[in-house]
């Protein structure tokens, strides 16, 4: 579907001529182009087409005898609108009177009081007097709609925005209206709690105090708080947020509507995990291992110890950089490593190095689609990524495209996806066989090559691959997961992906392209800042090629590396190869970690721990998967003794004899930008509050070129034969993060091991849904709760990674055994 055309029309609004895009709803056009507010309650553009339920927006349009709902009348050329005649005023007053007759006047104790649209509208358009003397409607209140949301049905004005969100936006279909007439109330179908990945959005949608955040309830009034805009760094979707701050504490997170990023929605992790900023478990002072235990020490001692240890290790230092690291921190770290220590052993990718040429080809600006393209494309291919877990807010964007834009959606993943129900076709390939699937797709698109062989290697039906290939017409956006390029087959998978992109003609095509969802939030920014073993800043050639993450683990385990620097990374939970990493951390003489929480690897092995800033405390930039450079702003003072991590990195470099010249976070930004040719000329001011897609700037031409295919592809290796065992697939749940575990309100969502099986395998193994099962691989065994999924492919079992206990990282695939525990 093409993007909406912006044809302008002129209409008369209260005697003035106003020009606005044709067919824009009158309420929007009046506000945006005519500076006249037509009051609304039920109308919310983000929810889709208007429903005209609250009747608050009644206005007079010449030539139409009845008053019209301004929310649902598209503006037309020559239309004459009156919003302030006695007749309109009376009708609006009347609707407000109707709304208020059953609304309790408990504003002084209501969370919404002071930031309440109903209050504002009552002041602006109400009569100020109620003629209603009868008893109001009563409900039991407040009730827990879920552990996160309280519902006060007496305050509800039945605009049913929340119900529409649940049905038409998140499509979880949990909220409904029960009963009818004045007895109508919002509920879930069978009274179960409304638990869903995006449930918190209804709190912000509610125009009254009927839906309130339980963690925020009674914590502050609007006059106690300040709003501070920044970006959520809990996943690669990088939603724009606004922190509600009271007394240097973050009390709430609200959306900061950005059409190019989040479309104004947040997932519940982004909305509620702020609680982890203010918990006792957080590391807020430097720690030093002393007699086997981590003890708080002074900054001076911690820095001295770290600097001395690094000096001893010198080039025998390896560094792992986690996704929540800002580009500046990554850039400083690579200077610390390369210049101060002379080591090139640093990596921000978990799955092993990829050829620099391939990094360049995949990251080329001409090939990058933007987030809104997901909504306006003709076809979207979701490839080896589960948006709901890996970049949740994009799940909503894709659904919106399918629902309103007629996007043809194809899903190609190992594990059944939440988007399957909306997909024209879904293909299930064997875990790790994404490259083979792409080979097959390449063959189908080019009508050459061994489609059947590649499909067999991927474990899919060639017909299904053909169906996907046939559906990829017009503007195609491929949303793919970084894991596709992990492991030994990663390079071949990358080449196959480039082939597919070339066959589809995605390069340079407006509204089409690739979007890579990296494994970590700022995966893209870190690569561009030079946090790769084989690339410097700007994806330039590195002076010396170093070890990638698996090689660093092996090197440390073998005693070749003696110091490990973990910048926001815990290899034991975040990276594959847990056994090697265990040995590496054990062997290393020094392990320096920047950490917010003492996760297993840090707790057991770190010798020095520097407290990590939370994202509400950080200054710096991160890069969105679609190339948008976004700015983190400090919302609160650093907690405890935490220092700016840029300064820790700069200080260590200084003590090791390298003056980075960075004296303030903005200097780090400026110096980094100066080293990245395709960022040239950028400034924090230009990045501003909405970010800048560097791929759209003229300077993008400076991005290093690389051959983009088509390449000749080797026949992919077949997925391992199961031999009575099951293939192991892994996934990282949206809720698998230390922030979720540490947030009191979200803790209930923190996952335990869930073993996903197909019904056929479950029956064969005698495993019942909900029963405890054991899973054993070469590396060890774990137990978990069996989850029988009808859509799961037979022969494969899926387990969670990145959880503290029973993580799939303990197992070593590719084949595992499962039995009832």
């Amino acid at each position: 579907m093409a993007r909406p055309q912006q044809e302008l029309v002129t209409f008369t609004l209260d005697g003035r001529e106003v020009t606005a895009p044709q067919n824009m709803m009158l309420a929007d056009a009046a506000l945006e182009y005519g500076d006249v507010e037509i009051p609304v309650f039920c109308y919310e553009k983000k929810l889709g087409p208007p429903v005209g339920a609250c009747r608050m927006c009644l206005v007079e349009i010449e030539g139409i005898p009845k008053l019209q709902a301004g929310c649902s009348v598209p503006v037309k050329d020559g239309m004459v609108v009156h919003t302030n005649t006695p007749r309109v005023r009376e009708a609006q007053q009347a609707v407000l009177e109707f709304i208020l007759i059953n609304h309790p006047l408990d504003c002084p104790v209501c969370d919404k009081g002071g930031e309440c649209p109903l209050q504002d509208k009552s002041f602006g358009w109400g009569d100020g007097i109620s003629r209603f003397v009868d008893p109001k409607r009563h409900f039991e209140k407040p009730l827990a709609l879920s552990p996160l949301i309280a519902i006060d049905r007496e305050r509800c004005i039945l605009c049913y925005r929340c119900v529409r969100f649940s049905q038409d936006v998140s499509e979880d279909y949990q909220l409904i209206l029960q009963e009818r007439g004045a007895g109508t109330y919002v509920a879930t179908f069978d009274g179960h709690p409304y638990v869903a990945p995006f449930s918190g959005n209804i709190i912000e949608l509610c125009p009254v105090g009927a839906l309130t955040s339980r963690p925020y309830r009674f914590r502050a009034r609007p006059w106690d708080i300040e709003q501070s805009g920044s970006v959520c760094t809990l996943c690669p979707a990088q939603c724009n947020v606004s922190f509600t701050v009271r007394d240097e504490r973050v009390l709430r997170v609200l959306q900061r509507d950005h059409e190019g990023v989040d479309d104004g929605w947040l997932c519940d992790k982004g909305r509620f995990a702020y609680q982890a900023i203010h918990v006792d478990e957080r590391v807020t002072r430097p720690l030093l291992r002393d007699g086997g235990e981590l003890r708080p020490v002074s900054w001076e001692l911690a820095l001295d110890t770290a600097a001395a240890a690094l000096k001893r290790a010198g080039a025998r230092t390896g560094a792992i950089v986690g996704g929540e690291t800002t580009s500046e921190e990554g850039w400083l770290l690579q200077r610390l490593m390369r210049e101060a220590l002379g080591s090139a052993d640093l990596d921000s990718r978990a799955g092993g190095a990829l050829d620099l040429e391939l990094h360049r080809a995949l990251g080329a600006p001409a090939l990058q689609a933007a987030v809104p393209d997901l909504q306006y494309a003709d076809a979207v291919l979701v490839l080896d990524v589960e948006p709901i877990d890996d970049a949740p807010v994009l799940d909503l964007r894709i659904r919106k495209g399918v629902r309103h834009g007629g996007v043809r959606l194809h899903v190609a993943t190992s594990r059944p996806s939440a988007l399957d129900e909306r997909a024209a076709a879904a293909v299930r390939f064997a875990p790790g066989a994404g490259g083979a699937l792409l080979c097959a797709l390449d063959a189908a698109l080019s009508r050459a090559g061994d489609l059947d062989g590649a499909a067999a290697a991927a474990g899919v039906d060639p017909q299904d691959v053909r169906a996907v290939a046939d559906g990829l017409e017009g503007d195609v956006v491929i949303l793919w997961g970084e894991r596709l390029t992990h492991g030994p087959g990663g390079a071949e998978a990358a080449r196959a992906l480039l082939n597919v992109a070339a066959r589809l003609g995605l390069a340079g095509r407006e509204g089409a392209g690739l979007i890579e969802i990296p494994a970590g939030t700022n995966g893209r920014g870190l690569r561009e800042a030079g946090v790769l073993p084989n690339a410097g800043p700007g994806l330039g050639a590195a002076p010396a090629e170093g070890r990638d993450a698996p090689a660093i683990a092996a090197g440390a385990a073998a005693g070749e590396l003696t110091a490990l620097y973990l910048l926001h990374a815990d290899p034991l939970t975040d990276l594959p190869g847990r056994e090697t990493w265990g040995a590496a951390l054990e062997q290393a003489a020094t392990v320096i970690a920047h950490a917010g929480f003492l996760t297993e690897g840090v707790r057991e092995h770190a010798t020095v721990v520097f407290p990590a800033e939370s994202y509400a405390e950080k200054e710096g930039t991160i890069v969105h998967p679609d190339g948008r450079i976004q700015r983190l702003r400090r919302a609160i003072g650093r907690q405890g003794d935490t220092r700016g991590e840029w300064s820790v990195l700069a200080e260590l470099a200084r003590r090791l004899g390298t003056d980075t010249g960075v004296r303030a976070p903005s200097m780090a930004t400026a110096k980094m930008i100066a080293e990245i040719p395709f960022y040239a000329g950028l400034s924090l001011d230009e990045i501003g509050a909405r970010g800048v897609r560097w791929t759209e700037r003229p300077q993008a031409f400076a991005f290093p070129e690389a051959p983009a295919g088509p390449f000749g592809l080797a026949s992919p290796q077949a997925a391992p034969a199961a031999n009575g065992r099951l293939r192991l697939g892994t996934f990282r749940s949206i809720w698998a993060s230390p922030e979720v575990e540490a947030s009191p309100a979200l803790k209930f969502l923190h996952p335990r091991q869930r073993v996903e099986l197909s019904p056929a395998d479950a029956e064969r193994l005698g495993v019942a849904h909900g029963a405890r099962v054991a899973v054993a691989g070469d590396g060890g065994s774990v137990t978990g709760i069996a989850h029988v999924r009808a859509a799961a492919p037979a022969g494969t079992v899926f387990l969670e990674t990145a959880i503290p206990r029973d993580s799939a990282a303990i197992l070593d695939g590719p084949l595992v055994e499962v039995w009832p525990a």
Partner: protein
């Protein structure tokens, strides 16, 4: 006044079976219609002047002509959710002559190019649903329904769907939502069903009586049909007369008959010694008329001019043994109960009105409440999403306007009764 079309031979045994219907010449109109070009059929419907019999009185031919041409999936939906208090004409038509309706549906579906049709029947009409189910099966067996109706190549599928007992599902868009399996709430219009109706497809939605009339128009010819009745109100109409009359029931009249002749002539008027106090000319949602209005011609335009409407043709007669406040209370309670709750003025206005009338009855109202009541009705009328709010507000407003004296007297009487009861209670 000898034109009996819809109710002709209605009580003949076996009429509900296909043999009985065919014996009376049934399905001949369909054969004739299938030989006519579709556009001619729609024209015929326009020329006949047939206006919708469900309540709104919109020209059926016009409505049919609004459906877009083209190959998209179109639908005919029959509104058999006869829920308006006082209305029971469709029940008799479906129960006693189901094939007349089916024939009308097939003709209409052919005319507008719809291949799928649905009858949405109110849940309480269990027996009628059984009769229709049997009739539909018969019609399929005889080839009047199916992939190729009577071998003509015209496809017409017909399904019966039972409602679950909500008045709002008689509102056409609420009906469509309900038929789609959703909560039966009215939709925002436009788009109108003719463009985007059932499952977003162009949909012709008509009342049972309207579609039952179609075969007669085809048989006798539109011009002939248009000669029945008066200007702008052609044809015959079923009226359901109920309330305080001696012979309640369905009567088929020629539009333009004098109202007094219906109420007194056909239905026998109120019992001995009683007089008409007020009457609803077109179902409980029509503004009330008084005994002074009995000489009005019973047709669409005359009643509209008198500030009310012909509606579904349900005449409810209230004699002078009744209190207008009771009538008002019952009526308001019905609509408050049936309001779907989607739009504010209807949801809140109906329940507020019930509370206010309730206070008149229990002696806690003041004459000022009457002004508030009248103003609340004003605020409902024309401001709602659908017409359900108006359906309460218009008759209530008309009762307050026409019987204000009685309201005031009852406020005072109830207040005194309450005072007395209180004084007795405290032993004064």
């Amino acid at each position: 006044m000898t034109d009996i079309l819809l109710l002709e031979g209605i009580d003949e045994p076996g009429l509900a079976t296909i043999e009985g219907y065919e014996r009376r010449g049934g399905y001949q109109a369909l054969r004739k219609a299938l030989r006519m070009p579709q556009a001619d059929l729609v024209d015929q419907l326009k020329v006949s002047g047939l206006r919708g019999r469900g309540g709104a009185g919109f020209s059926m031919g016009m409505k049919a002509s609004f459906l877009p041409q083209g190959d998209m999936q179109k639908y005919v939906v029959v509104n058999a959710d006869e829920s308006e208090p006082g209305t029971f004409k469709d029940r008799e038509l479906m129960q006693k002559n189901p094939h007349q309706l089916i024939e009308g549906i097939v003709i209409a579906a052919y005319a507008v190019g719809a291949t799928k049709s649905f009858i949405y029947i109110r849940g309480e009409y269990e027996h009628q649903a059984d009769v229709l189910d049997a009739a539909i099966a018969e019609a399929y067996a005889r080839g009047y329904l199916g992939e190729s109706v009577l071998g003509s190549g015209v496809t017409c599928e017909l399904h019966l769907h039972r409602g679950a007992g909500a008045y709002i599902c008689g509102e056409e868009t609420g009906l469509l939502d309900s038929l789609e399996g959703k909560r039966g709430n009215p939709r925002l219009k436009p788009p109108f069903p003719a463009n985007q109706g059932l499952f977003q497809g162009p949909t012709l939605i008509n009342n049972v009586e309207t579609l039952s009339t179609v075969p007669h128009i085809v048989t006798m010819g539109a011009e002939e049909y248009a000669r029945i009745g008066v200007q702008n109100s052609s044809g015959t109409k079923l009226v359901s007369v109920s309330g305080n009359v001696r012979r309640p029931g369905n009567y088929e009249i020629e539009l333009g008959m004098r109202s007094r002749d219906i109420i007194y002539g056909l239905a026998g008027g109120p019992p001995e010694g009683r007089d008409v106090k007020l009457w609803f000319p077109g179902g409980s949602s029509s503004p009330v008329l008084t005994k002074d209005d009995l000489d009005l011609s019973y047709d669409f335009d005359t009643l509209a001019k008198a500030g009310t409407m012909l509606g579904s043709g349900a005449i409810i007669v209230v004699d002078d043994s009744n209190s207008v406040v009771d009538v008002c209370h019952k009526l308001a309670k019905f609509y408050a109960h049936e309001s779907c709750g989607k739009c504010t003025p209807c949801r809140e206005g109906t329940s507020w009105t019930v509370k206010m009338v309730g206070r008149i009855k229990d002696g806690t109202a003041t004459p000022m409440d009457l002004d508030i009541m009248a103003s609340v009705q004003d605020h409902i009328i024309g401001n709602c999403l659908c017409v359900l709010g108006d359906a309460m507000a218009m008759p209530v407003a008309s009762m307050i306007a026409k019987f204000r004296g009685e309201f005031e007297a009852q406020i005072e009487a109830a207040r005194e009764r309450r005072e007395q009861a209180f004084l007795t209670g405290v032993g004064a």
